[in-house]
């Protein structure tokens, strides 16, 4: 039914997918950003979406998040997805605990927020203000705020782009660990080829509003992809690798 997502039978049998996108169309007036896009992300599957600036990858993420209206096709997700943006978007007037529990409607929201902050290593700072955090810490809180909602789909919009290299590597490990534990489907929009290789089960390259290339990194039958191949897909000729 959906050609781009051939799924390993084991996971398919157990759980419904995190999201299924069919024939999606996004346009601003006459300008078509996304045309006929199909995508399926399974629970626990980590998908990285690469692409040049302006190829429509953030537009796709925003459509999946329900932030923008779509002009055609269908997005079916069981529940509202959680999003982590490039900026942390913490409310400066709320403590970390209140930030993480924002929008959480369960009666034990505070305890869950505290537990989620503990998971990202900031359990000691429940009552601190966001302004006292470093960039990496703020992004960890944003991650906790997304995961505390127990989303079935987690959307990451270049969440590590503004972090320094060391912090980024630590964040990669943390995200991978938390995703493995909670098993949401993940769509990571990124510019960083190495990040995509390090984190994703599946790498998609988007071009002119459609998915132009797909690669599974963890499947046994597929050979591991080189950085240069991916860069070539992105229109960058890497002389060093050649």
């Amino acid at each position: 039914m959906i050609p781009l997502a051939s799924v390993p039978p084991s996971t398919q049998a157990i759980e419904p997918p995190s999201v299924v996108v069919s024939n999606l169309r996004r346009a601003y007036g006459d300008r078509v950003i996304i045309r006929n896009l199909n995508l399926r992300i399974e629970r626990g599957e980590f998908v990285a979406l690469l692409g040049e600036s302006g190829c429509g990858k953030t537009t796709l993420l925003r459509a999946l998040a329900g932030l923008d209206p779509i002009q055609g096709g269908r997005i079916s997700a069981p529940r509202r997805p959680a999003v982590v943006f490039q900026e942390h978007r913490l409310l400066p007037w709320d403590t970390l605990e209140c930030n993480v529990s924002l929008g959480l409607k369960t009666p034990n929201a505070r305890e869950r927020a505290a537990a989620a902050l503990g998971e990202v290593g900031l359990g000691e700072r429940l009552h601190d203000w966001p302004r006292n955090l470093s960039g990496g810490q703020a992004q960890r809180v944003a991650l906790a705020r997304a995961l505390v909602q127990e989303p079935e789909l987690l959307l990451l919009d270049e969440p590590f782009a503004a972090l320094d290299a060391l912090t980024r590597i630590r964040m990669h490990d943390l995200v991978r660990e938390l995703v493995d534990k909670r098993r949401p489907g993940v769509l990571l929009v990124t510019h960083d080829v190495d990040e995509a290789i390090a984190l994703a089960d599946r790498i998609l390259v988007m071009r002119h509003g459609a998915i132009a290339f797909e690669h599974r990194t963890n499947a046994a039958h597929s050979a591991s992809i080189s950085r240069a191949d991916l860069l070539a897909e992105l229109g960058v000729l890497s002389h060093a690798a050649a």
Binding site: A65, G66, L67, R80, A82, V83, F85, E87, R89, L91, P92, W93, D94, L102, G103, K105, W129, P130, R131, R145, Q149
Partner: protein, 304 residues
């Protein structure tokens, strides 16, 4: 009036610049020593005057002025009808307090100010919220409000007297009129300036419209609203001085005009000092509110 508001703007700007400067200073401090708790005495090269020295210096001029004034008045170089000695003013203050008239007049004045402020702030914030949230409301009423705002509100005084006479209503109305606009403008501005990215986040976290306003829009608008409150307190006080100067039977302004009839400059100076003190108190209240409500804000927060 115009001059006054210009002055207000200038002094407010100074404070803003000052607080930014302090912040920068404390940041560089942090960088150098790696310890945020470094006492300020260790900052930079050895200063000519310590912190206490500077504090003493800042009090030197006003204290000297009062002493010179006292000496000149005591020596009879300044006629008491022109300017009474500071000690005489203090004496008069004590006398008026003990007879109860001063506290009574002060109470009357404060009550007028509070009543006018509450009415003006309610109208200003209600209109501000309406216009801040609704483009339709903005189109419908913002232009009219801006036109009325262009009138220096004290210029409307003769008309207000024709409408309401010189009783309590006129005084409260004038205060309310002066308070409404700064509150209105800053409320609207505050709501409009809330980061749209945070509102978007609120939607993603599943907040309904009411929760969105309570958790994101109003807290985001609060710094601006409190700036409006601070301006409004100053305006309220100015409006009261003017309103009480005309046809009052009680209040601080009445005390001053009554004293003028008898050339009691000591009482007049006393009322001026009282107006100043209450102005300072009002500003202190506004600052306290900022400190408490904006503890999260890098420019206001008490715990830096």
């Amino acid at each position: 009036m115009k001059e006054f508001s210009l002055l207000m703007t200038a002094s407010n700007k100074d404070q803003l610049v000052l607080s930014n400067f302090e912040q920068i200073a404390s940041v560089s401090d942090f960088d150098r020593t790696g310890n945020a708790d470094t006492p300020s005495s260790q900052r930079g090269p050895a200063p000519l005057l310590g912190k206490r020295g500077l504090l003493l210096l800042s009090w030197l001029a006003p204290v000297t002025l009062v002493i010179v004034w006292e000496l000149l008045a005591g020596a009879g170089w300044i006629a008491p009808q022109i300017l009474p000695a500071p000690s005489k003013v203090v004496h008069t203050a004590i006398k008026l307090v003990t007879t109860g008239t001063l506290l009574n007049d002060l109470g009357v004045s404060l009550l007028r100010a509070i009543a006018g402020f509450v009415i003006g702030a309610s109208i200003g914030s209600a209109l501000g919220i309406l216009v801040g949230f609704s483009r339709i409301a903005e189109a419908a009423i913002d232009r009219s409000i801006q036109m009325i705002r262009a009138i220096p509100f004290l210029a409307a005084l003769p008309l207000v007297i024709v409408w309401l006479g010189v009783g309590e209503a006129q005084k409260i109305f004038l205060v309310a009129l002066g308070v409404t606009f700064p509150i209105y403008i800053n409320t609207t501005l505050g709501i409009r300036q809330v980061d749209p990215k945070l509102i978007e986040l609120g939607r993603i976290q599943g907040l309904g419209p009411f929760e969105l306003i309570r958790r994101i829009i109003l807290p985001g608008a609060l710094p601006s609203i409190l700036t409006g409150v601070r301006y409004a307190l100053a305006t309220a006080w100015l409006a009261l001085v003017v309103a009480e100067t005309i046809g009052a039977q009680s209040g601080i302004g009445f005390l001053a005009m009554d004293a003028r009839e008898f050339l009691r400059t000591d009482v007049i100076v006393l009322t001026i000092v009282i107006y100043a003190l209450i102005g300072i108190a009002a500003d202190a209240i506004a600052r306290f509110l900022e400190r408490r409500l904006l503890a999260w804000h890098p420019n206001y927060g008490a715990s830096r």
